[in-house]
Amino acid sequence: MARVRTTWAAMAALLTVMGCRGNRSNEPPVHLQQNMDFQERGEAQERNDFFADGRVMRPPVPGTIAVGYLKEDDHLWRGRLPNGALADELPAGIELSAALLDRGQERYNIYCQPCHGETGHGNGPATRRGGGFAVAPANFHQQKFLPVTLGYFFDVASNGKGSMKGYKAQIPVEDRWAIAAWVRTLQVTGEASVDELPEQAQNQRPRRIQ
């Protein structure tokens, strides 16, 4: 009888130690099929000691260009006209449309809003935490930004300016143009009073952050 009791106690102890589903743990999950689960191949962002720097993803050899990325269209890729000035028009192939502005608004709210704020007043959530920014993000409604070209916003979004870093690695080129168009839209609608807007736009006006 004592032995039966010991067996039961051991089983109960074992199950208790194994615990329930959803237990939090620092330990990597147990995988029984090691050689199938982790195959000898490189996956995105993995470590591989075959290369001296341990990166599976190889940086391109300096001076090489991937097929299709010559970026010879100065207007599209750099926002510049043939004479080197910043363009004020969208590049060929990107049409100003409601869809472009919708895309621009969505992308702006992902990548720019954290600092510049939803309305472009330079007071996004990142500026209000951790002691704030040493240099405040630009407020697009400032007088000095009103006459700048569309290409200027594209150029700053791509390459950064002052303490802002460039976003060309983070945002595809078409989306940066959409964002530039949206920044212009914010400028146009931002400081206007609601009564000046057409009735339809009054309801769609971006929400002003207090």
Binding site: R21, P114, F133, S163, K165
Partner: protein
């Protein structure tokens, strides 16, 4: 002639008949419960080299998932951001923080921060984020409420049966295409019918055949 087997051995067949199903059921239960990824994987929360809090960045500050994981709509892999993405803000904010020491170091030297991977499918399973995002499967559906996690942990088992549950009947896990990264969008509270959503160009038709995922 004395009996070869003592009398009590007559009970052996009965005992086996009674115990075997119990032991068998017990074994099945043990394998079903403790060998499942619901037990082995869910709750895995490795310590990261930098104590980055998704709760602070994605939750309290409301930064969109795609600000950092910006490849998720176009690529199979939802990339861990390069150090520059951290420095976009942290060159301005918390520039002296000790918790960010490794980030500044990495930015200066160009050596990547060695983040520990949390969600890892077996290598024989093919997975691509972009069609899932395009179909309107929310981030939270598979990754849980990351906006409430100080330390990211696995929320779902990511097992084959779990994948197939949704591939067989995707509708309950679909949401409007502009709500994919919205952590607060609650499928139980919203009456959403993907079949009647004009924003959807086509209806989802997830593969159920083997080579859909084992290619």
């Amino acid at each position: 002639m004395p009996a070869i087997f003592p009398r009590w051995t007559n009970n052996i067949p009965i005992a086996i008949g009674l115990l075997a199903p119990l032991v068998g059921a017990g074994l099945i239960f043990v394998v079903w419960y403790w060998f499942s990824p619901s037990y082995t994987d869910v709750g895995y929360r490795p310590e990261q080299p930098v104590p980055y809090s998704h709760k602070l960045h994605a939750g309290d500050m409301g930064i969109d998932c795609r600000y950092c994981h910006n490849t998720v709509e176009r690529a199979a892999h939802a990339a861990i951001p390069p150090t520059q993405t951290c420095m976009n803000c942290h060159e301005q904010v918390k520039t002296e923080s000790l918790r960010l020491r490794k980030v500044r170091e990495s930015y200066k030297t160009g050596e990547p921060i060695e983040w520990v991977r949390v969600h890892q499918l077996p290598d024989y399973a093919y997975f691509n984020h972009s069609p899932h995002v395009a179909a309107g499967v929310g981030c939270a559906t598979c990754h849980g409420r990351v906006d409430k996690m100080e330390v990211v942990e696995m929320d779902q088992p990511l097992s084959m049966g779990w994948c197939l549950d949704c591939h067989r009947n995707p509708e309950p896990n679909l949401r409007p295409l502009d709500q994919v990264t919205n952590m607060n969008w609650d499928p139980t509270q919203e009456a959403y019918d993907p079949k009647r959503d004009p924003a959807r160009k086509r209806q989802v038709n997830p593969p159920l055949h083997c080579s859909g995922c084992h290619r």
